[in-house]
Amino acid sequence: MKILKIFMIIFLFIGFSQLKSDEKSNELKSKILKNIRCLICQGQSVYDSESDFASSIKLIVDKKINEGFQEYQIYDFLREKYGDWIIYDPQLNKNTYILWLLPLLLFLVGGAIIHKIIRKKNEK
């Protein structure tokens, strides 16, 4: 009877940890799919789309997660096949310098202008 109880506990523990890991991989899958653009749809992510292209990508992402790929490895794989455009979050590279640095530049220029105006006012 005692042995049966121990077996039951082990069985339940394995079941729960399996459920937990499934939940984690589903979360990761949703996160990745939401960050992938459906290239044949109008403004939809792969997560939101039901197109053939999106369902193939969903399948591939699922397969890669099961193979033990990390999130960035899946993005790299898709980037290699379809280019940077497929990922919503663009990487910092020579093509995206302006995209990343322009807000910072505008912030600095704006800050300098405001600083100058305030200084002028104070001088008066």
Binding site: L39, I40, D52, F53, S55, S56, I57, L59, I60, K63, E80, K81, Y82, G83, W85
Partner: protein, 173 residues
């Protein structure tokens, strides 16, 4: 003077925006990634269309010749328009055509081949579209040129036409 400068800057800015947006109107909505460097064909295993036996990519692309990989489906209307061109291309001895049957019903696909002819030296089945993703395809029809070193050197999204056929012929020369 100051007001004139502001007005001029505003006009220049609006003019710049107008030109950018006007140019943007002429751009195609279809995004096609540039293949900057030659990519190797993916390593895969797929079912043969006729025998249902599993074949690997090494076996399919075993010869040192140019291959044309064409993704098609019986339900795809543009595939019908490009099919006669593929039939003509298949007569060229220096290339081999590999067909990837994309998300199709096998019986319908066989009817399609029986009706329009078979330009492919080998057809493989891609039931879930995963193999096409490995090639970097969007859907059907799509055509790739694979060179003698098993690298994808060119990709054509959509049905091929006479102009593309001429380009293919120039590349494989």
């Amino acid at each position: 003077m100051k007001n004139k400068f502001i007005l001029l800057t505003l006009i220049l800015f609006i003019g710049f925006c107008f030109i950018v947006f006007y140019k943007g109107l002429n751009n195609s909505n279809t995004y096609i990634p540039k293949i900057s460097n030659k990519k190797s064909i993916p390593i895969f295993e797929a079912k043969d269309f006729n025998s249902n036996a599993y074949l690997n990519s090494e076996k399919i692309f075993e010869e040192d010749i140019f291959y044309i990989v064409n993704i098609w489906a019986s339900w795809c209307v543009p595939c019908r328009t490009e099919h006669p061109l593929l039939m003509r291309l298949s007569k060229n001895q220096s290339i081999k055509l590999i067909g990837i049957n994309y998300r199709d019903n096998l019986n319908n696909a066989k009817d399609f081949i029986n009706e329009f002819g078979n330009p492919y030296s080998q057809i493989i089945i891609d039931n879930d579209g995963a193999l096409s993703v490995e090639f970097g395809a969007y859907g059907v029809p799509e055509t790739f040129i694979v060179d003698k070193h098993k690298k994808i050197i060119k990709k054509f999204v959509g049905p091929i036409n006479q102009e593309i056929v001429n380009k293919i012929k120039l590349i494989i020369k």
